[in-house]
Subunit: 453 residues, 4 copies
Amino acid sequence: MNSAFFSDLLTTIAERSRALLGLPGEDDGAGRNNGLVDLCEALLSGRGEASGTALAREVLDRYAALNEGERPAFFMSLAKNFGPDGEALAKATQAWTQSPSQDKATAIHYASEPRRQEVFRRLNRAPGGTAALVRMREHLLKLLPAHPELKVVDRDFAHLLASWFNRGFLVLRRIDWSSPAVVLEKIIRYEAVHQIRDWDDLRRRIDPPDRRCYAFFHPALVDEPLIFVEVALTADMPGAVQPLLAGERVATPPEQARTAVFYSISNCQQGLAGVSFGNFLIKQVVEELRRELPRVDTFVTLSPAPGFMKWMRTRGLDLVAEADREAIETLDDPLWPQDEELAGQIRAVLEPLAAHYFLEARTTGDRPVDPVARFHLGNGARLERINWLGDISPKGLGESAGVMVNYLYDLDQIERNHEAFANSGEVVASAAVRRLLKAGQRGRLAPANGVKA
Amino acid sequence: MNSAFFSDLLTTIAERSRALLGLPGEDDGAGRNNGLVDLCEALLSGRGEASGTALAREVLDRYAALNEGERPAFFMSLAKNFGPDGEALAKATQAWTQSPSQDKATAIHYASEPRRQEVFRRLNRAPGGTAALVRMREHLLKLLPAHPELKVVDRDFAHLLASWFNRGFLVLRRIDWSSPAVVLEKIIRYEAVHQIRDWDDLRRRIDPPDRRCYAFFHPALVDEPLIFVEVALTADMPGAVQPLLAGERVATPPEQARTAVFYSISNCQQGLAGVSFGNFLIKQVVEELRRELPRVDTFVTLSPAPGFMKWMRTRGLDLVAEADREAIETLDDPLWPQDEELAGQIRAVLEPLAAHYFLEARTTGDRPVDPVARFHLGNGARLERINWLGDISPKGLGESAGVMVNYLYDLDQIERNHEAFANSGEVVASAAVRRLLKAGQRGRLAPANGVKA
Amino acid sequence: MNSAFFSDLLTTIAERSRALLGLPGEDDGAGRNNGLVDLCEALLSGRGEASGTALAREVLDRYAALNEGERPAFFMSLAKNFGPDGEALAKATQAWTQSPSQDKATAIHYASEPRRQEVFRRLNRAPGGTAALVRMREHLLKLLPAHPELKVVDRDFAHLLASWFNRGFLVLRRIDWSSPAVVLEKIIRYEAVHQIRDWDDLRRRIDPPDRRCYAFFHPALVDEPLIFVEVALTADMPGAVQPLLAGERVATPPEQARTAVFYSISNCQQGLAGVSFGNFLIKQVVEELRRELPRVDTFVTLSPAPGFMKWMRTRGLDLVAEADREAIETLDDPLWPQDEELAGQIRAVLEPLAAHYFLEARTTGDRPVDPVARFHLGNGARLERINWLGDISPKGLGESAGVMVNYLYDLDQIERNHEAFANSGEVVASAAVRRLLKAGQRGRLAPANGVKA
Amino acid sequence: MNSAFFSDLLTTIAERSRALLGLPGEDDGAGRNNGLVDLCEALLSGRGEASGTALAREVLDRYAALNEGERPAFFMSLAKNFGPDGEALAKATQAWTQSPSQDKATAIHYASEPRRQEVFRRLNRAPGGTAALVRMREHLLKLLPAHPELKVVDRDFAHLLASWFNRGFLVLRRIDWSSPAVVLEKIIRYEAVHQIRDWDDLRRRIDPPDRRCYAFFHPALVDEPLIFVEVALTADMPGAVQPLLAGERVATPPEQARTAVFYSISNCQQGLAGVSFGNFLIKQVVEELRRELPRVDTFVTLSPAPGFMKWMRTRGLDLVAEADREAIETLDDPLWPQDEELAGQIRAVLEPLAAHYFLEARTTGDRPVDPVARFHLGNGARLERINWLGDISPKGLGESAGVMVNYLYDLDQIERNHEAFANSGEVVASAAVRRLLKAGQRGRLAPANGVKA
C-alpha cells in the first residue's frame, strides 16, 4: 500500500476537520461571553488538574446561571470545539490502515475520544457534579428536536452516564413511611402510571403491610430516586387496577400472599433517559421478595396497553368485520362500560383484537407495537393474560379501552423467553392469550393480511 | 475523492483485522476450556441483557476459580477476541475520510470501542463486581512485564476504572479509633511510608487529639480505603519524622496547632494503579481542616526523598568536589550520624547537593528526578525546606541519607505554582532552598554542566 | 419507748392494711377474668425473672386486647393489690421509730415501694414495652377524673416515667424535610399552637433556610417525638405571628439573622404529661443555634397569652374605667381590628390591662395567671414585649384579643431571673412592659385593689 | 387510737432524725471545701432546675477532679446529708398509722425517698452524666469494704441504675470484625473467662463464620458494651475449650452447625455490679440465632467450675476414701494430666466428686456451691454434662482440675427448670450427670453425711 499517499490524504482530512471544528460559529456568542467555553478549555489543561475541584465548580456555577436562551450556544460550542482531535485521529487511522492490529484499532478509539468526554469527567469531580451533569443533559434533551446538530453531544452524555450509572453502582432501597419526605415527595411527583394524588394517597401505596415500593439510588445523587416500582401482595393474579388501589380494600396479610404484582414502574430522571434500569429493578425486587416472603411464588405485572386504541383506530380497524364497526364507534362515549349489553358486544370484538395487537401486530421495525409489551417481553417476561376492563379510568379507557395486561416474570424462563423474542421475534404468551387470538381468527376478526402497524 | 477505491481498501483492512482477531491462539486453551470466553460472548449478547446479573456473576465466579497459571490465557482472549469490531471501524473510518465532520469523527470513536469494555461494564453489574474487576486488573498488572501484548487490555481497564473512580464518586471519611477494625487493619497493611508495627502503633497514629487520618472510599468498595493520608497537628513545621511519631511526645492541643503536617500518603489498591487520588485527597483534607480548625494556617508535608541517594551515587557524584568524595563514601556506615564531626562534614556536602537534586536535576524527560517531588510539585505545592537528618531510620538513611523535605500547600498559590511547573518546568521553591543551592554553587559543588539525572 | 407496744400496734396496722388491700373488689372482675392480674403476680415471681421477656409481652398483649370498658378494673387491681407490702412497711417503720437512723429511714423507702413499680419495670423489659407503658398511662390519665382512687397508680407511673425520660437519655434531633414521613406526620398532628394544615404547610415550617425545628426523642420510642419547637430566624424580634408564617414572606438568609424566634412548642405524648421537657429543649436549642450561627444573639419567643380574655372578662373588668367598658364589649365582634378608630380605643384600654395581667394579676396560689407566662418565667426568661394585634386569627382574637408576648431567653440571666421569680414571685420584665403598666396606673386603669385573678 | 400521742411521738422521732442527719461530720471537710456538697444542694433547688444542665456538669467536673483520698468525704456527705427528709417521713408515717390506706402507704414511699436519688437524677441530665454516675458508683464500690456506712448510698445507686439499665432500654448488637476498634479493645480488655491475648486472637473469636459475639449496649453509654457473650457454632456439644479456641481448628460451616456454644460471658462495667444482664443476653441471643440459623437446635454453654478445687480441698476431701487421697494430692503437680495412668486414677475419683459438687453440695444458704452453676441454674438451664479435662490451662487445672460443664438452654423448659430450682432447690440435671453421682455413691465416694460446703 502506498503509505505516503495515505499519509497525505489523512493529513488533508485532519486539516479539513480542524478547520471545520475551529470555525467559531455565530451561536458561540453567549457561551464565550460569560467565559464558559474558555473555562472548559482551562479545565482540560493542567491548570484544571491543579485546581482540584474549584475550576469544575466554577464552570457548573456559570452554567447554572445561564438562562434558557443562553444554553444552546454553550452546547454548540461543546459540539464544535470539543469533539475528537482531528490530527490525532488522522494519525491513528493512518497507522491502522497501514498495518492493522488490535493495538492500533484500540489506539484509534482513544485518539478519537471527543474532548467533551473529559470535560464531563472533570466537571463530575466537583461537589454535586453528577447531579449537575444529569440536569445539563436534561436541558440538552429538550433542545435536540430543534437542534439535531447537538445529538453528537448527547451521545457522549449518554455514553458516560450509562457507564456511571452502571447497575453495579446502584443501591436498591425500600421506600416506606419511614423514608425521608424529600424522597417521598419525588415518588408523588414522578409516578407516571397511576397518579398519586396527595400524601394520603402515597401512604396507601407504601405503608400497608401488603404494599411495597422499591427504588434504585445512586450514591452520588442523594435523595434522588432513579426509578421505582410499586408492588401489591395479593392472593391471586389481579385483573383490574381500581380494586387494587381502592382505599377500602381488604389487605392480604403478607404471610398469606402468593403473588407479587408490579403495577407501576416510573423513571424519575429525565437526564438519564436511555439508561435502562427497569429490567434490573424488577429482577432484584423479585429476589428481595422471594427472600423475605418465601410463600410468594408468582411475580407478575398489571400493565397498561398504552398504544392499543391508537393502533386500533388505524391499522386495527381493518381487522374488524364491517358489522362490528358500529360497536367500536361507541367507544367514544366514556360511559360505554356501564351499558352491559353494549360492553358485551364490544368485548367480543376487542378481546381478540387485543390478542392480535400483542401477538401479531408489528412496527415497521418488526417489533411489537405496544411499548410496554416491548419492555417486558424484552426483559424475558411472558404475556400471561389480557384483562377486560382492567383500567376504567378516563386515561385507561382512552388509551386502551380499559384493557390491561399481566406479564409474568418467571426467573427460570426469562433467558429462554428473551432469546426467543430477541432472535426470532417470538412473543412468548400463555395458552389463554393464544386461544383468544385463535378464537378471533376463526370468528370475528377479518383476515389478517400481514398487516403491519 | 475516489470513494469506491476507499471502500475496497477499507473492506480489505477490515477483513484482515477480522482474520487477525479471529485466530484462535494457542493460549486460548484454558480460557475456552472452562467456558469463560464463551460466557463473555454470551454476556455481550441479548442473553446477557436478559439474565440480569446472573451471567456476570457466573463469569466472575469462574474467573475467581482460575489458578494463577490459567489467567494469562483468559487475558489473551480479551486482547485478541474482544477488541474493536474491525468491520464497523472500517466503515466509520471510510465515512469520515470521505466527508469529515464532527459527527463522523465521533462515530469512529464509538465504532472503535474495544468489545471488552462492554464486557467489563456488564461484569460490573454483578454484586461485588467492581471489587472483582479491581482484583482482576491487579492480576493483569502482574502479568504485563512478561506479557506486553496484554497492555491493550490494561488500557481499557485503566480507562474504565479512572472513569468509575472519578473524584466525584469518592467519599472522604475520617479514620479514627471508632472506625471498623476491618478498615483499620487495612491502614496497617497498606501504610507504605512509615510502617505501622501493630494495633498500638496504629492507635498512636489515629487516636490522639493532635492526629488525623483521612481516606477516600468508593461506595462500591465497602470497607476498602483507596488512599489515605496521615496528618499531625503541630505548632511549627517539623523537620524530622522520628520525633513526630515518638510514643512519648508531648501532644499539641488541636486548638493551639497552627500547622497540619501530611507525613504519609499511601495508595491501597494495586488494581487502581494509575488512577490518581492523592492530589484531590490532600486538597480536600486541607479544606476539612480549615473548617474544623480555623487557627491552622500552614499545610505542609514531611516527605521522603526516595531517589536522592541513588541519584547521588550516580549523577550527583560528578558535582562533588574530589576532596569531599571521601566523606560521601562513609555514608555506607549506618552509624555515621552519630559521629558529629563527620556528620557536619557530610552535611556541608550533601545539603547543597540535595538542593541541586530538587531544583536542577532532571530526568531524560526533563522532569525532576525525585518521584515524590514530581507528585507534590505537580499538585502545585512549593518546595519549602530541605531537612537534614529528617529520617534516621535505616530506610531513611539508605534512600536519602536522612534527608526529608517539606512541601507547602498554599491553596491560593497552587494553580500558579502548578502552571509554572507544568509550562516552564520551574520548581517553585522557598528562598531558603534557593539559597542552599546558591551556597553550593558558590562553594563546594562542582560546576553543573547541564547534568541530567 | 415501749417497743412491745409499738410492735403490736404496727402489726395491727399492717394486718388492717393487708385486709384492705386483699379485698377483691367488685371491679376486679374483668381484670381477673382475662388473667391479667394473675399474670402480673407471676411477673413479680421468680417465674417472671426466668421467662426472660415472654411473660411481660404476654401481659402487654392482653392489656392491649382490653376494650375501654375493661381497663378500669385492671387499674383498680393495680391500685388495690399492687401497693406497698403493709407488713414490710410496718416492720421498717417500727425499726425506725425505735432507733431512727439514715439507714432505717432509707429502709422504709424501699420497704414501702408499691409493688406495681416493679410490675411496670418488668413490663418495660418486653420489646416495645416503654411505648406500651406510655400508652397505658395515657389511658389511665383519661380515667382519673372519674376515678380519683387511681391517682395512686398514676403517681407511680409519673415517677418511673420521669426517671426513665430523664433529660440525660433524650436525644435532640433536627426535624427537616429529610426526616422520615412517619415522624413528620406526628409534627403535623401534634402541633398545638399554630395549626399545620397539610404537608405543604409543614414544609414551609421546616424546609426554608430561615426555619428550624428541633425535637427530643427517647431511644426506646423510635420515630416518636416527645416535644418539638419551631424556630424562625429573623433580623429583629417579631411582634406578630401571621407575617412570620405567611407563605409569601421574604426569607432572612440564615447568615444575616440576628434573632431566633421560638414561636411554637408542643408536647407530643399525653402519656408523659407532667414530665417536663420544654425547659431543657429551649436551652439546648439555644446552644445549638449559637454554635451553628454565631451572629444570632437574641433568643426570644413569640407566645400566645391564652388566659388573657378569660381573665379580662372576669377580674380584669373591675380595672376598666366605666367609660371604657363599652369599647371592651365590641370585642365580641370579630371584625373589630378592621375599624381603625375603634381598634385604637380598644388598644388604649387593653395594653395597660395586659401589662397588669402579666405583672400584677395572681392566681389564688399567688402565681401569674397566664400559664404560658408561668412556663417561660419559671424557666428564667424575661417578659420582653407585649405585642398589640400579634395574632389576628379567630383563636388569637378569642383567647387574647390578639395580644402576643415575647419572652427573652438570655442564658446569662436565666438563673438570676428564675430565682427572683421562684423566691419572691417577681416577674422580670423589660422597662417597656413596666412603663405600659405605669401608664395604665396613671391613666385609664381603675385602682387595683389587690385584685386576684 | 390516740392520735395526739402518735403525733407527738413521731415529731420527736423526726427531730431526732434531723439532728442526726444535720450533724456536719468530721469527714465533711474535703467535700465541702471544694463546694461539691453545696453545689449538690443548689442542684436540688429551683436554681438547679433553671440552670438547665450547667450545674449538673459543674458537679460532675468537680467530682472528677477529686483525687482518690478526697472521694470518701463526698460520699459521706451523700450518706449523711442527702438521706430522706425526716420530718416529711414522720408526717407521712403518722398519717398512715392513724388511718392506714394504700394512698398513705404510698405517700410514705415518696416521703422517704433519700434526697440523693434526686441528686443522681439531676446529675444524669448533664451530657455524659450516665457514664459519670456509673464511674462514680465504681469508686463507691471500692470504698464499701472499708466504709460500710456508705452502703446506704450504694443502695440508691443500685436502685436507680437497675431502673435505668432496664432490659427494655438495652440494645443487642453483634460484635464482629466490622465493629469499631473502640468497642473491640474493650472486648479484649473485659474478657474475663478465656483471656484474649491480642488483636489476632480477638479476630479468631469474632470474625470466622462459625463464631459469633453479641453484646448489650445502652444508648447513653456509647461504645461501651455492658456484657458480651462469645459463641461457637459446632456440629456437636463440645467438651473441651482448648480445641474450640485452637487457631488451626476446622471451622464448621454455619449452615451445617446444629449447636451454638456459649463459651464465655463477661460483664464489662464494674459500676453496674448487681444489675443483671446475663440471663436476658443469653435468651435473646438464642432467639437471634434461631432466626438466623434455623438448623441450630441445641443451645449450650461450655462453662468453668471455678469453685470446684477450693471446695474439694475443704469439704470435698471428706468424701474421698482414704485410699484415694494420695492421688488427689498429685493434683498440685501441673503435669499430672500428661501421666495417663495417674490421670485415669484421678478421674475415677474426681468425676463422681464433681457430680456431688454440682448436685448435692450446698452453701450455708442452701444454694449450690458453684457460682457459675447458680447463675445458669437460676436462669432455668439444665446441668447437661460434666467434662473431664475440659480446660487444661493452668487456670483451668488450678480452679477445677480441668473440669468443665455444659449447661443446656432449652427455652421450652426454662420456666419449669427455674421454678424447680427456685422453689425446691432442685438442680435439674441430665440422666448422665445423675448416673455419675450414683456411680460415686455406690463406689468410691465416702458416705455423704449431709455435708455442707
